[in-house]
Amino acid sequence: MNRVIKRSFIVILVVVLFAAGVFGYYFSLTLNGEGWMSYPANKHIYTNGVLTKAGAITDRNGVVLAKTENGTRVYNSKKSIRKATIHAVGDTKGFISTGMHSAYLNELCGYDAVNGVYNLSGKGNNLELTIDSSVSVAALNALGSYSGTVGIYNYKTGEIVCMVSTPTFDPNSNDTPSGKGVYVNRLLSGVYAPGSIFKLVTALSALENINTATTMHFKCNHGVTIAGEWLSCLGRHNNISLDSALKHSCNAFFAQTALELGRGDLTATAEKVGFNKSLKMDGIPCATSKYEVSDSNDIDFGWSGIGQHNDLVNPYQYLCFMGGIANGGESISPYLVKKITDANGRTIKKANRDSTKMMSEKNATLLASMMRNNVKLNYGDSRFKGLEVCGKTGTAEVGDKSTPHSWFVGFCKNEKTPYAFTVIVENAGAGNGAATRIAAAVLKTLK
């Protein structure tokens, strides 16, 4: 009998294995449950694969962008508003993963891990967004037939007032949306070569690490030779200082500054302003800006200092960076969801407030004034009347034959219009063209 009892360990082994399996399943449930729940076959929140349980989504002025009516999901009645806000709102089938319909599905449907899809009213929650639908429409019109994005946010409060991405589509249309990356919100998920807008990072790093940064000079002879190779510049700037180098976007100056700084210091500054980090906008993961020079040779490192080589920039990250310069070094994190209310109008969640110290107030002021001079000299301040725009353009080369992308990043210094912006227009030529024109057209509507 004793030996029989000893053998009974196999019974408890089976019991223990079963219990372990049960806990394993519950572990998987806590990790993946939300994903399982949001499968479009779930009739608790979808009807025929279309999201219907969700509450309404409105813009900052109460304009309804999407709501559920009679068992279907309906968008704003104006086509231009639908097209301008679809990337923020999201489609009903989950193609736009960063849209509210996907990223805030749980909040919209009133789902949480404790209650599941249950709530007493049987209705979802409402989202009030920070975007302004009329500014968004202005951005959509300004972008015209170009692909690109316009992102604008209030650098004092963090509210994103404009987040438009093209190509876009009308969710009410039955046609299958066309256009390369039509479901991609380029502000959050795009990455581009930065071109000259990266010079702002190099300039900031110089201010941070070189005592004589504001007075030092480098030679520009239509370029400069680095490690035996030629790095060209668009002009012959002779002996040039930081302030005028930024004004004239001198490649030679910034390449030599990069070499003077060294890979470590420049990378450290880049990472402080958001490079190589997985940033999130209101909890929605964004594409990562990349600055990686640890294995590069000197000439490549020189090019990286002026936004070439393998540098990549996510427009949202630059929006945060611009906010940091504008707000005296402290970057208030941009957010989109102003508040969440339940079906009875009770506020259940307020906006996510967060900020990052990117640089000292002194360096922010110095950089801002250089950017201000740049706008005055190059782009014509009259185009941004009363806004006191500080900015920098960039041209991102894309292969040999295609027209380069056009960047314009910056902010308004005016107290009454505390907005930072990033604009990128694909295949639109040099930055001092399409991007500045589009920025001017949209910023005008903010006054």
Partner: protein, 546 residues
């Protein structure tokens, strides 16, 4: 009345998980306080007055540690003699050594009375009755408090179901809950007259039965009457089988008849049965249909106990049992009921392990099974295709993984507290009431109560393990082992199959899945536990009654 349902549910959905936690804690406390202090049944006393206590009804006297009662002196063989309590009497039989009782040489099984003198290798030992040394001054809890909380749970869930469909409420639903509540209290009160009665097995079983009743009431009230009738049949079966198992002699005699009958039933079904959900495992008599494999499962556990229980007396019917196992599994394989094949196989392995077959034989059988299963899959690739989505259910979310993904999706939709009995969507999917019932539990009752359901099975398993540890005879150990492993393994196949951790084989969750045959089978399976629980006392009671 139906207007108050939303508010009643909004509050009560928090109360039922709390009651569940209370029931669980009370069960654990009852389990710990009932920790059995094992007391000897009898003893062999040496001339010097040293008492060698006997704790089981079948023990081997031998020289080394492998024996149950060790006499470490020269002349005692490794397995010298067998002492056993059978047919109401103690017996002794020689195995490898020579023995004498009251100086009379004994060559075969001989009855033994208290006071008899047994000679082993020149030693004289007196067989004596042993008084209980550890008489507990305070009676341990029998589970009445847990039953009170369970009753509250039942009332609230019944109200949730009834209020939800108040305007066309089937009066059978509240009647069934009332019947269950009255029945369980009658059982408890009658049980108070039985020595050492406790509800350790019954509390988790009743919790599962409550969930099963709730699900059939909320999901398919048209099947409720049938379910109640089957519960009645199962209850009668449970009481009868518990009673029959007391008469080992009769059970042993009936063995061959049961084997032949159960095989006939299985093969008849395999060739002339009805096919439902890809397996031909149903038998229809008029409008009444049932799954023979569910009933045969009970016989199978008992056969494992009988065939293998006699330690040394006769050559154990090992070959006979193995042939019976193979033929049974063959019939199930012909039915394409692979879930049942796996369950029968695991019961067989458990029986063989507890019967002390050598690890080589057991691993040989296991290896042969793996090779056999591989061979079948190679020969009949369509069988493998049925399990093609296993571990990749989301990749085949709308085809092969349809049922699994819907289960996970619905389970997650319920959150911790559920959307309420009858308010889910998973119930509309094929086989949701049986194979996917765990998903329905999660969706409608919430993850906490679904976890409690799974842990109820764990509780039955732990209780079964302790019964084996305390068991005094091999038949009890082998049958309780078989029943425990069967219950755990089948529930594992059900739960893990529906959430894509194991292949989906289509077996039921005991007491919870809707279905008459499985309910009867599950109730009868509990007989083995109850019988072992009561049997422990029988040798003492025999002395007391004389």
């Amino acid at each position: 009345m139906s207007g108050i349902y939303p508010y009643f549910f909004a509050v009560s959905r928090w109360v039922t998980p709390l009651l569940t936690v209370a029931i669980a804690l009370l069960w654990v406390s009852c389990f710990i306080k009932n920790k059995k202090v094992s007391s000897p049944l009898a003893a062999l006393v040496t001339r010097d007055g040293i008492s060698l206590d006997i704790y089981a009804m079948e023990i081997i006297i031998g020289r080394y540690k492998s024996a149950d009662l060790i006499i470490p002196i020269n002349g005692v063989e490794k397995r010298h003699a067998l002492l056993c309590f059978e047919k109401g009497h103690w017996h002794i039989a020689p195995i490898m050594g020579k023995i004498a009782v009251n100086l009379q040489n004994v060559s075969r099984m001989a009855p033994l009375e208290y006071g008899d003198k047994i000679s082993i290798a020149g030693q004289i030992l007196t067989f004596k009755y042993k008084e209980d040394e550890n008489i507990l001054s305070k009676r341990p809890p029998s589970g009445g408090l847990a039953l009170i909380f369970l009753t509250l749970f039942q009332i609230i869930v019944a109200l949730q179901i009834c209020l939800n469909v108040w305007n066309n409420l089937d009066p059978l639903i509240p009647a069934a809950f009332l019947l269950l509540i009255v029945g369980q209290w009658a059982y408890f009160l009658v049980g108070q007259n039985i020595k050492n009665f406790k509800m350790l097995l019954e509390i988790p079983a009743l919790y599962l039965i409550t969930l099963g009743l709730s699900l059939v009431s909320a999901l398919s009230p048209d099947q409720l009457l049938k379910q109640i009738i089957c519960f009645g049949i199962g209850l009668v079966g449970f009481i009868l089988l518990t009673f029959i198992l007391k008469y080992r002699g009769f059970v042993i005699k009936a063995q061959r008849v049961v084997m032949v009958l159960s095989l006939a039933l299985l093969y008849y079904t395999a060739f002339f049965g009805t096919k439902i959900n890809s397996a031909r495992n149903w038998l229809s008599i008029g409008s009444f249909s049932f799954q023979p494999s569910e009933i045969v499962k009970v016989a199978f556990v008992a056969m494992g106990g009988i065939s293998l229980y006699i330690l040394t007396k006769k050559p154990a019917r090992r070959i006979e049992f193995l042939v019976y196992c193979l033929l049974s599994m063959g019939a199930l394989a012909i039915m394409l009921d692979f879930g049942a094949v796996a369950i029968f196989f695991v019961i067989m392995l458990t029986a063989l392990t507890l019967r002390l077959e050598s690890p080589i034989i057991i691993s040989g059988i296991f290896g042969a099974a793996v090779v056999g299963a591989g061979g079948i899959i190679l020969l009949y690739p369509y069988i493998a295709r049925r399990f093609g989505a296993w571990l990749h259910a989301w990749d085949y979310a709308d085809s092969l993984g349809y049922q699994q993904t819907r289960t996970m999706m619905s389970f997650a939709s319920g959150g911790m507290l559920g959307v309420g009995p009858g308010n889910g969507n998973l119930k509309n999917i094929a086989a949701a009431e049986t194979d996917l019932i765990f998903g329905v539990l999660g969706e409608e009752f919430g993850a906490i109560i679904a976890l409690a359901a799974a842990l109820s099975v764990v509780a039955i398993g732990i209780y079964g393990f302790r019964l084996i540890k305390n068991s005094t005879c091999l038949f009890d150990a082998v049958t309780v082992g078989g029943a425990t492993v069967q219950i755990i393994f089948q529930t594992a196949l059900n739960i893990f199959g529906s959430v894509d951790i194991l292949p989906l084989t289509g077996v039921t969750f005991i007491f919870v899945s809707i279905g008459g045959s499985s309910l009867i089978s599950a109730l009868m399976m509990l007989s083995f536990f109850k019988s072992a629980e009561l049997h422990k006392q029988s040798s003492k009671q025999w002395r007391d009654s004389e």
